[in-house]
């Protein structure tokens, strides 16, 4: 009985919310600008100066902008100066956020030069994504340090609750994955891999939360995954053994495959480059895809309400909300899996660059 009542209440609330959504959407549509799905999607997935607050399109939490202008002078000001489409005169340079779709800097901070042309300055602003990264890093430090404090205080007692879960995950990643692959090198590379895992996991999960501390599409941004993949790339190749390089430039294959035309070395060399590329694109595409599907499902409400009226929009809302709920649950799983896959592949790549003993070639 209790369950039935709960279900009925939930459906009623959902329907009311859907109705409200659809009505506002259709009203929106009739009134002013039409819903532009593509723009909305990329606005939500992209990086912005300032952080949106719920239920408002114009109000944003201001974030600091740090930029070096054309002369190399440093400029710092809050993003609220420019987010409204204004031009801000800071010292002898004026800045605004470009709206020019052809200039290639749309949505980015540009310096307006004397002749009216736009110059993209060296931009070190604390944007939404940068702040998101810093929050994620702070959370990871907080989690790790809380576990450390527990061990300091309680010694041999097993942690409970959240710390117990953390320990379980560390055990799963380190003891069950990194250690068997790395062997006795695990303590050397374990910290990097664990850091990468928890950083990615935290960023992934933060991306699923819609309001302030979350909501930034971090791991669905190519810059973020590129940095992570590059670090793995450098760790792999800078610590690679002689044998690793020998296997790339002079592999154990018939002479014809490597002497006149260096076919195998070329393929192996490409392999060095494709490994981090795959790491970068896999994480990026998975997280971006998840976010995009949720946004599209929600946008369907607006689009349908605009096209067929409020009632259809309301109907769509129920389905959309349920589907996006399912997608978010799935994304939670994907967040973990992708963080784990990144760590696992990094572990394998690094350990593959550390072959010491010469494996006996079987030629006969």
């Amino acid at each position: 009985m209790k369950k039935v009542i709960t279900a009925i209440v939930a459906v009623v609330i959902l329907a009311l919310m859907a109705w409200g959504y659809a009505q506002s959407a259709s009203h929106h549509g009739h009134g002013e600008a039409k819903v532009n799905p593509k723009e909305t999607i990329f606005e939500h997935l992209g990086d912005t100066y300032g952080w949106e607050v719920p239920f408002s399109h114009t109000k944003k939490i201001p974030l600091p902008i740090i930029a070096f202008d054309q002369q190399g002078a440093l400029h710092c000001f809050m993003s609220s100066r420019v987010t409204g489409g204004d031009t801000w005169q800071d010292g002898d340079a004026s800045f605004k956020i470009s709206t020019d779709a052809d200039g290639g800097y749309k949505g980015k901070l540009v310096q307006v030069l004397g002749d009216g042309s736009e110059y993209r300055p060296w931009d070190f602003s604390i944007t939404k994504n940068v702040l998101g990264i810093l929050i994620a890093a702070a959370l990871v430090i907080l989690m790790a340090m809380s576990l450390r404090r527990w061990y300091k205080r309680e010694g041999m007692k097993g942690p409970r609750g959240f710390k117990g879960m953390l320990e379980l995950i560390i055990d799963f990643v380190y003891t069950d994955t990194i250690k068997p692959i790395m062997g006795k090198e695990a303590p050397k590379y374990g910290p990097y891999l664990l850091t990468a895992f928890f950083f990615i996991l935290t960023m992934n999960l933060l991306g699923l939360i819609v309001i302030f501390p979350g909501g930034a599409n971090l791991t669905g941004n190519l810059a973020v995954t590129m940095v992570l993949a590059l670090i793995t790339f450098f760790v792999t190749n800078l610590t690679g053994t002689k044998h690793y390089w020998k296997d790339i430039f002079w592999p154990d294959v018939p002479m014809a495959l490597k002497c006149p035309v260096p076919m195998m070395p070329l393929i192996e060399f490409l392999g060095i480059l494709t490994k981090p590329l795959a790491l970068m694109v896999r994480l990026f595409a998975n997280m971006l895809g998840g976010h995009m599907v949720v946004i599209v499902l929600i946008l369907l409400i607006m689009v349908f309400a605009q096209m067929f009226g409020t009632a259809v929009g309301a109907g769509t809302a129920i389905i959309s909300v349920l589907l996006s709920l399912f997608m978010l649950v799935l994304d939670t799983l994907i967040s973990f899996i992708q963080a784990f896959v990144f760590t696992l592949l990094s572990t394998i790549f690094i350990s593959m660059a550390h072959i010491h003993e010469e494996p006996k070639a079987v030629t006969e």
Binding site: F42, L45, K108, V130, I141, P191, T195, G220, I231
Partner: protein, 165 residues
């Protein structure tokens, strides 16, 4: 498409954040956490091994005690059996000794009886002799004249002796 163009500022901050995160965690968090976890795992493993050993020791002790008990029982049975045997032996011996003693006693009695019989025979002979002498005296005293009366008397007396003997 802005998403596919890595922004320099973001790359910079991401790298900086990751580097700081790595140095902080690699210095203070992960090695300590991993060591603590390993220590605890080792402690638990040792505890389990210890408990198993203790259990096997206990089982062994039980088995030993059982063996000891069985041994003691066997010894007890042996001792009892021996005691019983000893008892019968002693009785047998005593019996034999008693028989020998009894035989000695009877032999001695027989000897005594024989002796006393011989003595009494001897006595009797003396008595008979004395008696015969008395008779002969009387006969001689009474009937020196009458031979026939003497002879009858002797015969009569002899008959009397014979019947009394």
């Amino acid at each position: 498409m802005e998403l596919f163009k890595p922004e320099f500022g973001l790359v910079f901050w991401m790298f900086l954040a990751f580097a700081c995160l790595y140095f902080i965690l690699a210095k203070w968090a992960w090695p300590f956490i991993i060591k603590s976890m390993d220590d605890r795992a080792k402690l638990i493993d040792e505890g389990v091994a210890y408990a198993q050993e203790a259990k096997s020791k206990l089982d062994n002790a039980k088995r030993d005690a059982d063996a000891l008990l069985a041994d003691a029982r066997k010894q007890q049975a042996d001792i009892l059996r021996e005691a019983a045997k000893m008892k019968t032996d002693i009785i047998e011996q005593a019996k034999a000794e008693a028989a020998v003693e009894a035989k000695k006693v009877t032999d001695a009695a027989q000897v005594t009886i024989e002796q006393s019989r011989k003595e009494s025979e001897h006595q009797l002979r003396q008595d008979v002799g004395a008696y015969a002498l008395q008779i002969a005296e009387q006969v001689i005293r009474r009937n020196m004249s009458d031979d026939k009366a003497q002879r009858d008397l002797v015969k009569k007396l002899l008959n009397e002796v014979e019947t009394s003997n």
